[in-house]
């Protein structure tokens, strides 16, 4: 754009002018872009015009797409306080706007809050539409700590009203903010005001409300002194653990570690252990799976002096049953954490009690269970050494490696480098190497690709000389395979391995094969030759590039196939071979 400004014009206004015009563009994306630059527009207009002109316009732009409204609400954070309050008339996307308000509330003086923020909260709390009342719930905890005593009492009253609102939406919003509101409330009011509300929400007729009270339970328990917990929190928590609705019990299981930390060791031992046992035996699989996920964390957080006794007497019997659960999600959740118990229980207990469970899970009919065990082998390795498992491990790995579902095969490939590290080179060469090579000719491309990447990681771990003796010959042998897909795999492997194998192997063994393949009758192979040459180029010496690579690429650049030509030229440009 020319820098020559008109006589009385100001070209710095131009970009702002565009932004303003595009606030009402037909194209949502352009509108969105402008909304995201609202603070720039506001800055250019100044406070007064922003308040009197821009905001009234925006306020009425509420008939808009969700995403524009969301962006608008987010941008409010960058506005001055008066502007935001002004804006808050009937915005539909209140929740997001409330988020913005929460962010900026700290920047306001107590006078500002008292004058603007608090009336806004009140107005929202008594709004006709329940969206405004739900939004109000999010603001209580923000303004409460910074307002006067009388206002505080009003805010508590508003919160009480919303907790018994007719619509479940509002009660849900109140229940979900109960915890954070409790944190800013004076302890005496937590006890006198909030606990009854908490108890009421926890026995709401809608289970979608009750389950949110479980979350609040954590925050409230953290705030109360130990001696009050039994009387004020535990009855509600016990009730939730035995709730008729599985979703509420699920929530308890899901929040179990937090609850455990919040109520402390004594209550954990007396109350939570039996509860946890019940959740592990729950009739609903979703609940058992959630509880199974927490087994390790729960055991870790048990008081040190009684930890082992509790695990051995109370938890392990339930865990044993879960190993043969009817539901595969439960078994697989357990399999993802069960190995962690070995570090807690030590070598002897692991060998005697846990090992049989690991072995059983390694034979589970569901591949995900076996995979989860294999992916966590490192925990056991530290405690008892992997050799204890290797007899059972191998059949399990082989079976997964040959699973009919390619996603299962893919998952086990990803654990190969880890397994190789733990089992050692010798074991690997003897038992697993052939599997890794077999994947290279899998009929699914994703598996061949993963197998290539796996080889690279193995070479990084075991070194170039290992590669030269075990992998490279097999990979290069595939270059004369009658199936062109396998020939291409050779090229992909070479591209992936050259760096890890180093200059000598690449130049002496790999490069001749690649160059020879430039004569292949399949065009796909030929253009992959060009791509591979570009990949291995950086590993080669310049003399080899000039003497050997260049003539081949030049020839490919005149190939009759369009794609071959294109990739050959691409490779030459990429390597500056002109």
């Amino acid at each position: 754009m020319s820098k020559m400004a008109g006589a009385d014009g100001d070209d710095s206004l131009y970009p702002i002018a565009v932004l303003i015009d595009e606030l009402r563009n037909e194209d949502v994306q352009l509108r969105l872009n402008s909304i995201k630059k609202l603070s720039t527009i506001a800055l250019a207009l100044g406070v007064e015009r922003t308040r009197t002109e821009l905001l009234p316009f925006l306020t009425d732009t509420i008939y808009d797409e969700d995403e524009v409204l969301l962006a608008l609400a987010e941008q409010l954070g960058s506005f001055t306080v008066q502007c935001v309050f002004f804006f808050f008339v009937n915005l539909e996307y209140l929740d997001k706007a409330v988020e913005s308000l929460r962010k900026i509330s700290h920047e306001h003086s107590p006078e500002d809050l008292e004058a603007h923020f608090e009336p806004l909260v009140k107005r929202l709390a008594s709004g006709d539409w329940f969206t405004s009342r739900t939004s109000a719930c999010g603001l209580f905890s923000v303004c409460y700590p910074r307002v006067s005593k009388s206002t505080k009492s009003e805010i508590r009253q508003h919160f009480r009203t919303l907790c018994s609102d007719d619509t479940p939406m509002v009660r849900r919003a109140a229940a979900s903010k109960l915890g954070e509101f409790a944190k800013v409330l004076e302890l005496e009011y937590v006890k006198s005001d909030l606990i009854p509300l908490f108890a009421a929400l926890a026995s709401d007729e809608q289970d979608s409300v009750r389950l949110l009270a479980v979350e609040a339970c954590v925050s409230i328990a953290q705030l109360l002194p130990q001696e009050d917990l039994e009387k004020l929190v535990m009855p509600t928590l016990r009730q939730a653990t035995e709730d008729k609705s599985w979703r509420v019990r699920y929530m308890v299981a899901d929040k179990f570690s937090e609850l455990q930390k919040a109520v402390g060791p004594e209550i954990t031992e007396n109350d939570l252990v039996p509860s946890f046992q019940n959740l592990l035996k729950d009739c609903e699989a979703e609940v058992r799976a959630a509880a199974a996920n927490k087994v390790k964390e729960f055991c870790e957080n048990l008081p040190a002096d009684s930890r082992e006794t509790i695990i051995m007497n109370s938890i392990l019997p339930c865990v044993k049953e879960l190993v043969s659960d009817t539901n595969q999600h439960v078994k697989s959740a357990l399999a993802s954490v069960i190995m962690g118990l070995s570090t807690i229980l030590g070598k002897d207990n692991t060998i005697e009690h846990l090992l049989p469970l690991f072995l059983a899970q390694l034979k589970d009919e569901c591949p995900e269970v076996r995979l989860n065990i294999i992916s966590n082998l490192d925990c056991v390795n530290e405690v008892i050494g992997i050799r204890q498992l290797s007899q059972s491990l191998l059949p399990a790995i082989v079976e997964l490696a040959e699973d009919a579902k390619w996603r299962v095969r893919l998952a086990i490939i990803e654990y190969m480098p880890l397994l190789a590290g733990q089992l050692g080179m010798e074991f690997f060469d003897e038992k697993l190497n052939s599997l890794c090579m077999a994947w290279l000719v899998d009929h699914v491309y994703a598996i061949r690709e993963a197998a290539t990447c796996n080889l690279m990681k193995l070479v990084e771990r075991f070194g170039a000389s290992w590669a030269q003796s075990t992998i490279v010959p097999k990979v290069l042998g595939m270059a004369s395979d009658p199936n062109y897909l396998h020939r291409m795999t050779t090229l992909f492997c070479i591209s992936a391995l050259s760096e890890a194998c180093g200059q000598e192997i690449t130049t002496k063994q790999m490069l001749p094969i690649v160059l020879k393949m430039s004569e292949d009758q399949v065009a796909n192979v030929r253009f992959n030759v060009a791509k591979s040459l570009q990949k291995i180029g950086p590993v080669l010496e310049n003399s080899a590039l000039q003497a050997e690579v260049r003539p081949v690429l030049e020839k490919l650049a005149t190939d009759q196939d369009m794609d071959v030509k294109y990739f050959a030229q691409e490779a030459m440009t990429g390597m500056y071979l002109f």
């Binding site: 008109g6 002018a17 009402r24 207009l45 709730d243 599985w246 609903e284």
Partner: protein, 450 residues
Amino acid sequence: GAGNAGVGGGNDFQWCFSQVKGAIDEDVAEADIISTVEFNYSGDLLATGDKGGRVVIFQREQEGNNRSHSRGEYNVYSTFQSHEPEFDYLKSLEIEEKINKIRWLPQQNAAHFLLSTNDKTIKLWKISERDKRAEGYNLKDENGRLRDPFRITSLRVPVLKPMDLMVEASPRRIFANAHTYHINSISVNSDHETYLSADDLRINLWHLEITDRSFNIVDIKPANMEELTEVITAAECHPNQCNVFVYSSSKGTIRLCDMRASALCDRHSKFFEEPEDPSSRSFFSEIISSISDVKFSHSGRYMMTRDYLSVKVWDLNMESRPVETYQVHEYLRSKLCSLYENDCIFDKFECCWNGSDNAIMTGSYNNFFRMFDRNTRRDITLEASRESSKPRAILKPRKVCTGGKRKKDEISVDSLDFNKKILHTAWHPKENIIAVAATNNLYIFQDKIN
């Protein structure tokens, strides 16, 4: 006379004609056939869906408008294309645009929201009003001519000017790819955040905000499809217990499930079935016992089911038999053979409650529809027809005669027109206003208190 007295509400009143919507043409375009009718929670809006994938929303005029006799007429508020015909290339299947169901969401702000569904895809629509227009650009003048970008001396912010009211319908969410079979029901849960959708073999639970996943809560698909003996015909959420829903089957049974009990509701908590009367058993027994619609009463205490020949009211506390059974068109029992041959026997009649749950309405053939008063046990047959569509005309009760001698004003079973069927009806949630879909016409009737 007894037959002439109104049904519904307890007061003696007569139904009279109020409005008829849709073309009068004898030639009916397939796309114009109404496929669903639904009042919103206040009754101020009435939505219809048609086979052409369109949704038309009517709004009730405010009372006391200058024309004193047009007491609360419904006029078109918004029309939009909800679904388009599609083709599933993977299965080589055409997906019709026909709107199978419309369900309103409880109103949560100035805008209105509804769910509409065809066989496969559910959409959430927002219907909102706009009465202001922005004016004034920086880079253009009033006539749309571009200004010299280098001669901008000041910034102008658009100014809002009032304009004629415009109603906009915009699609907010699209819930797709969750149903292998045809969706027959959608129902919004009383928790205001979830809804269920049912097809022939499965029921899914959705969150209204989340479109990329739903939870399967019922799956009756047998491992081997040759063992399939029944399908789901309708499903509905309880009006105030957010954990309870029911679904009906082609075998004439209803299962009530409690979502608290387990994540997958394969095991029902209640099973409603009426023992079959062996004496009336016939080849058609199973077909005519298939339930075509199930509706909870507003109170949540009862539910009503419609099968081919009757409407039954069930007390949720009694599973063994219905507490009330009303015959809709018993005279068709002798005609089942020909109704089977012309496929009418598979027609899916819906049913509805009045606002106070003491009267029910359902459709029949020959543009007849039936109402039953649950307190007095009186019933009435009315007709939605152009002939009686004079303003404020009182609807005359109709009678079908089965015997040889036909009285005056009676119509013989043999002369019923089976192409004119009333499948979809809706009752205003608070007042005695009903909407009756007769092929491509929507009739609105209301009470006239004597």
